[in-house]
């Protein structure tokens, strides 16, 4: 068979379409392989059903040209096995049957064959059928790759959009969740337990009065950069950034059983990270500034609020309002914590730094709540 082998081993590096020809008659295999190779296809061969199955499993081809009548495992059996296996079910199979053998065609359809070719094989018919299946195969591949590309693009867009507001780790989790359950932010307003942390800049008004607009913006950017870093460090979600205040939520959008601890460490981190910035402003601008923080835990409503044109992922409820009021009351470097939240973090807070404010009635609130004041400093940040 040296002459055949030489002719059929013509280089076909560019032939991406791979056909497996299965027939127990070596002359039939040589004939079919020759015609397919002339069309630029890459051809592999098998002389019985068993070796065909093995070859498909080890290197799945793009199409199988399968003789029906073979000793041992018949073409029907091979077809049935390949179509019954999820990994190979999509590989097109052309069954090669005798022209007058309508019974074989019926059995072939039942076995899952995609098309039929009559023996004796007419060259034009073979090429036409294989080319048609190739076009279908290419179209399916193209659609699949477009779908994958769109999916990647969509996930990247979600990741980019949210990575401005949440930590990169959370952004990745949301991107993953988007693939499995749809957009986790869409249409699912819900009431849930949260920890709200509000931070703002003490001395901000003087800052705006004493500096030009460009300088103020640069300083605010510097300030928000360190606070955002601190929030992301502990996987907080930034819900709002207005003026000089920042609202960070915990236990949203994903559950954080240690939300209280995360919020506490974030507060410490904010004060600690802002320390060097404040020192440099003091030196450069003669400003006395510091971060004041209010924190509270409780039930809040989380969801997209707005219109079809503009909506924002928002957190609404008592803990948010209370945290905002506490922030307003906090001095520079001070963290004011509502009672229920303090109970959850008291094991982390050095007692010497804590002062109770007693029960405080907050502006706009009818009931008073216990409030604890903690002096934060870089040296306390464990």
């Amino acid at each position: 068979m040296n002459d055949r082998a030489a002719a059929d081993s013509a280089p076909d590096a560019q032939a991406a379409y791979r056909v497996l020809v299965v027939d127990d008659d070596p002359d039939m295999v040589a004939f079919l392989a020759r015609l397919l190779k002339r069309e630029g296809m890459s051809v592999e061969t098998a002389v019985n059903g068993e070796s065909a199955l093995m070859q498909v499993m080890t290197a799945p081809p793009d199409l199988v040209l399968l003789d029906v009548m073979m000793p041992g495992t018949s073409g029907f059996d091979v077809c049935r096995q390949l179509k019954g296996d999820e990994a190979t079910a999509l590989i097109p199979i052309v069954l090669v049957t005798a022209l007058e053998d309508s019974e074989s065609r019926v059995r072939g359809i039942e076995a899952g064959a995609d098309d039929f070719l009559s023996k004796p094989v007419r060259r034009e018919e073979l090429i036409a059928r294989v080319k048609t299946l190739r076009r279908l195969h290419d179209t399916r591949k193209e659609l699949e790759s477009r779908r994958l590309a769109a999916e990647v693009q969509r996930k990247e867009a979600i990741r980019k959009a949210f990575s401005r507001y949440i930590s990169p780790r959370l952004a990745d989790r949301i991107t993953e969740a988007a693939g499995e359950h749809g957009d986790p932010f869409q249409g699912r307003a819900q009431r849930t337990s949260v920890v709200a942390l509000f931070a703002d800049l003490r001395g901000f008004t003087r800052l705006t009065e004493k500096n030009e607009v460009g300088a103020v913006v640069a300083m605010l950017n510097e300030y928000f950069a360190v606070l955002t870093e601190a929030a992301y460090q502990h996987d907080g979600t930034i819900f709002n950034m207005a003026g000089d205040s920042l609202l960070v939520g915990f236990n949203v959008p994903f559950a954080q059983p240690d939300a209280a601890e995360r919020a506490w460490h974030t507060a410490l981190e904010m004060v600690a990270r802002f320390g060097p910035v404040a020192a440099s402003w003091r030196e450069r601008h003669g400003l006395e500034v510091g971060v004041g923080i209010g924190m509270c835990a409780g039930e809040a409503i989380i969801g997209n609020v707005g219109s079809t044109h503009y909506a924002s992922y928002t957190i609404i409820g008592n803990p948010v309002n209370t945290a905002a009021r506490l922030m307003q009351m906090a001095a520079a470097g001070e963290v004011l914590v509502c009672g229920p939240l303090y109970e959850r973090i008291r094991h982390l807070v050095p007692a010497a730094r804590v002062a109770t404010r007693g029960d405080v009635t907050l502006r706009g609130k009818s009931e008073s709540i216990p409030v604890f004041a903690v002096r934060a400093g870089a040296h306390e940040h464990a």
């Binding site: 055949r4 030489a6 002359d27 005798a98 004796p120």
Partner: protein, 101 residues
């Protein structure tokens, strides 16, 4: 020049496959004879079926035609008819001439 009924026109791109094709057909004659002597009609049917498929695929209509008769004879258990087919097949293979186009 009279038309030779044993002349077969074959596509040029199959030329290098033809010598092997004929070697396998000669072997086939021997296998047919052996199967007939053994009265193995199932093998005769399979051999006839194979001849029917491969012959005309290459362009040898006569091989397919004889193959069909072998297959039918095997199904009918007709030894005499098959014997005649095998003789005709051997005779054809000894006379056939191929022209490549």
């Amino acid at each position: 020049m009279t038309a030779n009924i044993h002349t077969v026109i074959i596509a040029k791109d199959l030329a290098d496959l033809i010598p092997v094709f004929f070697r396998n057909r000669q072997k086939e004659v021997e296998t047919l004879r052996t199967a007939l002597a053994a009265g193995d009609f199932e093998q005769l049917r399979q051999l006839g079926h194979r001849m029917k498929g491969v012959g005309n695929s290459y362009g040898f209509a006569r091989v397919s035609e004889i193959g069909k008769r072998v297959e039918d004879g095997a199904k009918a258990g007709d030894k005499t008819a098959i014997d005649a087919c095998i003789r005709e097949y051997a005779d054809y293979l000894s006379k056939v001439q191929v022209v490549y186009e």
